[in-house]
């Protein structure tokens, strides 16, 4: 059976800022969708199906496309909603990839977004742990003890960071350098949220320590923003684009949840920095894409790193080097915009985090690098292949996509 090649033929973003009070959720998303249609040179009539998603619980709106999709050109279209937490944007893009690859739909619009200012994201993230915590209260566990684990995503991330530093030799200085690298890249990206041109590792080291080893400067902002992309077949893409980017493969892999195991799932026995499932997802994606040596063949990487240590950790888990080598590779300058394997040229999730959109933005950013349309943030080297990643859940969900300038079959 012949594989149907899937190309990215349009990308669009909304403005990414912390609070958009002038638009509602549907209108915010419209900005990205409208820019995407324009980028692709297509109209809603050209779209065969729509895939959408965001973090469900954060804005308190259940299936926002039910009242919003009229703003996105989805009138009477086939539409499916995919939501998987932090990986949502990636999962939406993956579903759109499969929709085209299935042969059932030629041209598919993928939409992912978050309007964090409308809701209460920390509360949303807390419900990840709170349901277990409530059960623990009933078992007589001291609430103060549970509170010491910290709340929201930072709670899990500090343990992951500490474990990663122990295993890799990564220092707090490396964390500072990651933040500086990303925020400087973000300054070149008109769609990024936190732009800090000229930010130095020393500046980052002076920010408030939230919980060791993570400082304020090591953490993503809360962003309102949306991302849209149009995927189509190889044949149709060539009529629209001189140089489309192809999604060669998609893979996800899920581990047990790093939670307290009260509800019949999850344990706290796992090392949150192991991320064996990320390695598996990467392995599967590279296999499907025909990539034998990712270290040589991948030209650019967009790991999903809302916390500084994760850029290095996921660089390793995406099999781009041996475990423990990433800090030295960072020191070598290889991860810079003009380096050998630039990482997070967009500025990454640490600079812009409209949660539901973030994992899709990793894919669109790699696509733009391949198409040579990344503007000032375009990396210096020639880009043929790139890897885009998403991470979420209770540190247990990973999605990986491999993109290329040539289709899979050739």
């Amino acid at each position: 059976m012949a594989h149907i090649d899937v190309a990215v033929t349009g990308v669009g973003y909304s403005k990414h800022v912390s609070k958009r009070r002038d638009v509602n959720i549907a209108e915010l998303v419209w900005e990205a969708v409208s820019n995407c249609y324009e980028d692709a040179g297509l109209k809603p009539k050209d779209i065969d199906a729509v895939v959408t998603g965001n973090m469900p619980a954060f804005e308190g709106v259940n299936m926002p496309e039910l009242w919003g999709a009229g703003h996105w050109g989805a009138y009477h279209k086939p539409l499916i909603r995919i939501t998987t937490g932090g990986t949502t944007g990636g999962s939406v893009a993956h579903a759109a990839y499969y929709a085209v690859a299935s042969g059932l739909y030629d041209t598919v619009l993928a939409i992912a977004f978050e309007k964090q200012s409308d809701g209460n994201s920390t509360m949303g993230l807390n419900t990840v742990a709170l349901a277990d915590a409530a059960a623990q209260f009933q078992q007589g566990v001291d609430p103060g003890f549970l509170a010491s684990f910290g709340g929201g995503a930072v709670g899990i991330a500090v343990y992951q960071a500490a474990s990663y530093m122990k295993r890799s030799g990564c220092t707090t200085h490396h964390l500072d350098k990651v933040s500086a690298l990303c925020r400087n890249n973000a300054a070149l990206n008109p769609w990024s949220h936190l732009k800090q041109p000229g930010l130095t590792p020393e500046d980052v080291a002076k920010t408030v320590l939230m919980q060791y080893p993570i400082r304020f400067g090591h953490v993503c902002p809360a962003t309102d923003g949306a991302c849209a992309m149009i995927l189509t077949t190889h044949e149709k893409a060539l009529k629209l684009q001189n140089k489309p980017a192809y999604i060669l493969s998609c893979a996800s892999c899920s581990d047990e949840a790093a939670l307290m195991g009260i509800s019949g799932s999850g344990t706290t026995n796992m090392d949150p920095c192991a991320q064996e499932h990320c390695k598996l997802a990467a392995k599967w994606a590279y296999e499907l894409a025909g990539i034998k040596d990712p270290r040589r063949e991948i030209d650019v990487a967009e790991p999903y790193a809302p916390f500084a240590h994760q850029m290095l950790m996921f660089y390793e888990r995406l099999l781009l080097c041996e475990e423990g080598e990433a800090p030295a590779i960072l020191d070598s300058g290889s991860m810079n915009l003009d380096g050998e394997l630039p990482v997070c040229p967009s500025g990454g999730v640490i600079s812009t985090n409209a949660i539901g959109a973030s994992a899709m933005e990793r894919i669109t950013e790699v696509a733009l690098q391949i198409m040579g349309k990344a503007g000032e943030r375009q990396v210096k080297k020639e880009v043929h292949k790139g890897v885009a990643h998403g991470w979420g859940g209770a540190v247990n969900l990973n999605v990986v996509a491999v993109l290329s300038d040539t289709p899979r079959r050739s």
Partner: protein, 380 residues
């Protein structure tokens, strides 16, 4: 050449108002049974697509905690929102792409856990309707029922008759929980009035449960005993409740057109042997007859009166009892697909209809079936 994909196994929990099991236990049970029936082990390669909703789970990222019970540990896993029929659709895409050969599909929720009608209210426009607290899935359904009944002269007895038929059918389904042998329209009309014209017995009460299904292509499908082939699929989204006509079920009509075209069905009323329809409220089944092309526009009431859709009729609909018999949000549509597959396979025991070769199953989500999925299934 498109790959041929078949349903090769399935499993359902009993559906109960308040199950003595956690959602994880229910999912574990159906995932294990469906995998076993397909001859699969945890170490085999398969992909998993679950269907659920964070507002029903009461926790964010509802699929995150289902990884182990769903047999998805270290698997390529994803989640479709709401109805399991969407998860089945997504699983089908995954297999048709050629990147996967086998998919485990799961739908579940527990109405005994969530605040029954609140997740539905959260579906309405937050800038207006949601905060006015007039619209919920039941009041919206009543507005639709009245619009439909008024436009086409459908009587309360006809709507009640659908509920009575499904309650009676459910009495033959050991998994259903809302059942009443010999139910009649008068009894349904006489039940508690909630949102006129809809009485309590016209509503499919939310309950607890889970179901799972394994679909496959290639060797596994060919070797399977009595595979049920997925001949056609379609899905569609309709406008927001106050911006569309409520007299017709457009999302279902559009989805069915696509599914029929794919399956090569030009005259559904003669080519379809049986249908399992996701009807959250009794009038929706009448509207579905029309949207699925079993009868003409506005003819749903007369079509029902003709007896065609009774279990001894020419085109039985909801022999399982439908959503009326058991309505697990996120599983109801998937259960329709499973029930239709059971009929084709001859697994339906006391409710088996003879000679089912081609069957249609539908799933829906959003107020008044704002979004619909249609599967056309066929035997050998």
């Amino acid at each position: 050449m498109r790959r041929e994909v078949a349903i090769i196994s399935y499993a359902q929990t009993p559906y109960e108002a308040d199950a003595n099991a956690s959602r994880e236990m229910q999912v574990l049970k159906v995932a294990r049974e469906a995998l076993q029936a397909a001859g699969l082990k945890q170490e085999d390669r398969y992909t998993v697509v679950t269907a659920n909703n964070d507002y029903l789970d009461g926790r964010t990222i509802s699929n995150m905690r289902l990884v182990e019970p769903a047999g998805a540990w270290m698997k390529n896993e994803s989640k479709a929102e709401m109805d399991g029929a969407y998860a089945a659709l997504y699983g089908l895409w995954r297999i048709l792409s050629g990147d996967h050969d086998v998919a485990l599909i799961i739908g579940e929720s527990q109405a005994s856990v969530y605040a029954r009608w609140l997740p539905g209210i959260m579906m309405f426009d937050p800038t207006f309707d949601r905060q006015r607290w007039l619209l919920n899935e039941a009041s919206a359904a009543a507005l639709q029922a009245r619009a439909y009944m008024n436009a086409f002269g459908i009587s309360g007895e006809q709507v009640a008759g659908v509920a009575a038929k499904n309650l009676d059918n459910a009495s033959l389904n050991p998994l259903a929980h809302n059942k009443l042998a010999g139910a009649d329209a008068a009894k349904v009309l006489g039940s508690r009035m909630l949102y006129d014209p809809l009485t309590e017995m016209m509503m499919a009460p939310y309950c607890d449960g889970a179901c799972a299904m394994v679909i496959a292509a290639g060797e596994l499908a060919e070797k399977a005993e009595r595979p049920v082939w997925i001949r056609g699929v379609g899905f569609a989204h309709d406008s927001y409740l106050t911006e569309r006509t409520l007299k017709e079920m457009n999302s279902l009509r559009l989805a069915a057109e696509k599914a029929y075209a794919m399956a090569g069905i030009s005259d559904p009323s003669s080519q379809v042997d049986l249908a399992e329809v996701h009807e959250n409220f009794a009038h929706e089944e009448l509207m579905a007859y029309e949207a699925l092309g079993f009868c003409g526009k506005g003819e749903g009431g007369a079509f029902f009166d003709s007896g065609v859709t009774r279990r001894d009729g020419k085109l039985p609909v909801n022999v399982s009892g439908g959503a009326t018999g058991a309505n697990v949000v996120c599983a109801t549509g998937l259960a329709r697909i499973i029930e239709a597959a059971m009929q084709i396979r001859g697994d339906a025991e006391g409710r088996q209809v003879a000679g089912v070769k081609t069957a249609v199953a539908t799933g829906q989500t959003g107020p008044c079936a704002q979004e619909s999925v249609v599967f056309v299934l066929g035997g050998e």
